[in-house]
């Protein structure tokens, strides 16, 4: 048997395959080495640099470091990192320019081993790909999925009315084809209506339905006088409690710090927002639009991260949701500190609300109900130990609820 192609060509082919394969191998090993160095560099970067730098374009305390390896040489960066103050003193023009740009704050010195420096440099050269932030439009659509029941019913009703229209016109078409008399939709409706009211039982049915609706409306509107439950006004800044208290787990007291100390659970002043938002300039839902409203109020320039001097600060006009009439007295600190009542007992699942609504009725019946059923918090309330001992003595074995310490006396809330 003969081989159908000559040996020379086979050799050439093998050679080509070998070359391409080996070059693939070589590339692969390069990548492997890089990724280990990059990983190590990332660790070092996160441990030492992220307090002042981000891997992006934005300034934090120092400049953003995305693409810094294109702007500066490896040696320049090494000198700067090892001792920026010595480097500035040596008279390097770029170093001095940076120093001046950042209000004459020199970067602290970092003495990295050579291998560590190589790793950091590798990381700076190969920054992680930026995360793709979901389009705002997508998020809005996903929010709309939760249509409320009344809107759904409305759609069903509209659909059925449409069905009536379609069926009537179909009927006309059929009659037309049979050469019978056709009637317009209005005529059909009028005829059907006349037929409908000619039956006394139908009239009773309609009257009864009307009566039910009127009574229900009347009862609802009268019993909701002065009750703000579910009141959900639009706020000047679309602040989401779901993001802050829910996803990020910030304690209620962090912002509403006066709930422990005063009658009011205060609305945080904008400087509390700025504790984090000096550096966090972009939100997950609304991007920069809502956060820049804080900057607008306090006069902060997020690009240079400085407050604009002489800026006339404007208050943020939040819309009040919870409001008690003046005839009732309520004190937050009393309930939060001495009573140890959790915020969500009255304010509901705040950590799930994008827009806050009033959860509780805030009626007198609602107050009294809670005072009658809630037991006095005796644990960790050493200040009141003496009183608590007396109460235990007096109500042997009984549940000691808030009404037993005067929680339903008129003068406690109305004076």
């Amino acid at each position: 048997m003969t081989i159908p192609f000559n040996n020379n060509r086979l050799l050439q082919l093998l050679f080509v395959v070998f070359i391409s394969f080996s070059s693939v191998l070589a590339q692969d090993t390069n990548v492997v080495i890089d990724s280990i160095a990059v990983q190590k560099g990332e660790q070092i970067f996160k441990a030492n640099c992220t307090a002042c730098h981000v891997m992006g374009d934005k300034k934090l305390i120092g400049p953003g470091l995305l693409g810094v390896t294109d702007r500066r040489t490896k040696e320049w960066l090494k000198k700067w990192i090892n001792s920026s103050s010595d480097f500035i003193a040596s008279g390097d023009a770029d170093a001095i320019a940076i120093y001046e740009e950042y209000n004459k704050v020199a970067m602290p010195s970092y003495y990295f081993e050579d291998t560590d420096y190589e790793a950091v440099y590798a990381y700076l050269q190969n920054p992680p790909l930026p995360k793709v932030i979901a389009d705002a439009g997508d998020l809005l659509v996903s929010e709309d999925e939760g249509l409320n029941i009344s809107t759904q019913l409305m759609f069903i009703a509209l659909f059925l009315l449409l069905l009536v229209y379609v069926l009537t016109s179909l009927k006309n078409k059929l009659k037309d084809s049979l050469a019978q008399d056709t009637e317009t939709i209005t005529q059909t409706l009028v005829n059907q209506f006349n037929l409908f009211i000619s039956n006394n039982r139908n009239i009773v049915f309609v009257a009864f339905a009307c009566f039910i609706v009127v009574v229900k409306f009347g009862y609802d509107s009268l019993s909701s006088v002065g009750i703000y439950t579910k009141y959900q006004p639009e706020q000047p800044i679309a602040f989401s409690h779901k993001v802050h208290a829910g996803e990020n787990g910030v304690d209620c007291n962090y912002c509403h710090s006066s709930a422990r100390k005063s009658k009011h659970s205060g609305i945080p002043s904008a400087n509390v927002c700025m504790n984090c938002h000096t550096y966090i300039n972009e939100g997950t839902i609304t991007g920069t639009t809502e956060i820049s409203k804080i900057y607008e109020a306090v006069g902060f320039d997020p690009d240079s991260r400085t407050y604009i001097s002489g800026y006339e600060q404007k208050p943020i006009k939040w819309v009040r949701i919870h409001n008690l009439p003046d005839l009732a007295y309520f004190n937050h600190s009393q309930h939060v500190v001495a009573g140890k009542v959790e915020c969500k007992t009255c304010h509901g699942p705040i950590e799930e609300m994008d827009v806050v609504y009033q959860h509780a009725e805030l009626t007198m019946g609602w107050c009294i109900e809670c005072h009658r059923t809630t037991e006095v918090a005796m644990e960790g309330n050493e200040y009141y130990t003496e009183l608590h001992e007396q109460l235990k003595e007096k109500y042997k074995g009984q549940k000691i609820t808030v009404d037993k310490i005067g929680g339903i006396e008129c003068g406690k809330c109305h004076y």
Partner: protein
């Protein structure tokens, strides 16, 4: 029968189109909106119409005379670290208080044990230094686990790096108590 069904849905169409976005009706509104000024309300007396006023400059609230005189600069930070004394005892009650306050005001960034890993995951706050870190800090010339109460109190009061100042949310007493608890966490070994 079909007519009744149609009528029923027409009803629902009318009824469901009435939504209630507002706060509802009030009987005798002046009990809700009183002539006396309410917190965060508006008035016609002041030029900026805000009911929330700043205290007169230089006002010292009763029982709130400060014992901390250091400025919010690097110089002040170093001086405070060297000289400031915590007026509160390092006892069980204060540690417990400090722990409670720490959980409200610090934990979401610094983590339960001061070793980072709090619930906030934003990249800026992803590299929180450990309280018991023994790496030398250039700023204070001591490692994290040897920062004095003065350093910690200064950082809480004026802020440091990406951390903002917390003096408006916490009284001096509360800040000293947190300092006590943070110093406990400096001894905590994460491993």
């Amino acid at each position: 029968m079909i007519n009744r069904v149609i009528l029923f849905f027409a009803f629902i169409l009318i009824v469901s189109s009435c939504s209630n976005p507002g706060p509802g009706y009030e009987f005798m509104p002046n009990m809700y909106r009183s002539p006396s000024l309410e917190t965060y309300g508006q008035n016609s007396v002041f030029e900026d119409s805000s009911n929330a006023r700043l205290p007169v400059k230089g006002t010292i609230a009763r029982n709130y005379l400060s014992t901390f005189y250091y400025e919010g600069s690097l110089q002040g930070y170093l001086e405070a670290g060297e000289n400031a004394v915590n007026p509160f005892l390092n006892d069980e009650v204060n540690i417990e208080e400090g722990k409670k306050l720490y959980s409200m005001f610090c934990q979401h960034c610094h983590g339960e044990f001061g070793a980072g890993g709090g619930s906030i995951t934003h990249p800026v706050y992803s590299a929180i230094p450990h309280y018991n870190d023994s790496k030398m800090l250039r700023r204070a010339n001591v490692p994290m686990n040897q920062l004095t109460s003065g350093h910690i109190f200064h950082a809480l009061t004026y802020g440091l790096n990406a951390m903002g100042p917390h003096s408006s949310q916490l009284s001096e007493e509360e800040r000293w108590k947190i300092t006590i608890y943070v110093q406990e966490l400096q001894k905590y070994n994460a491993e």
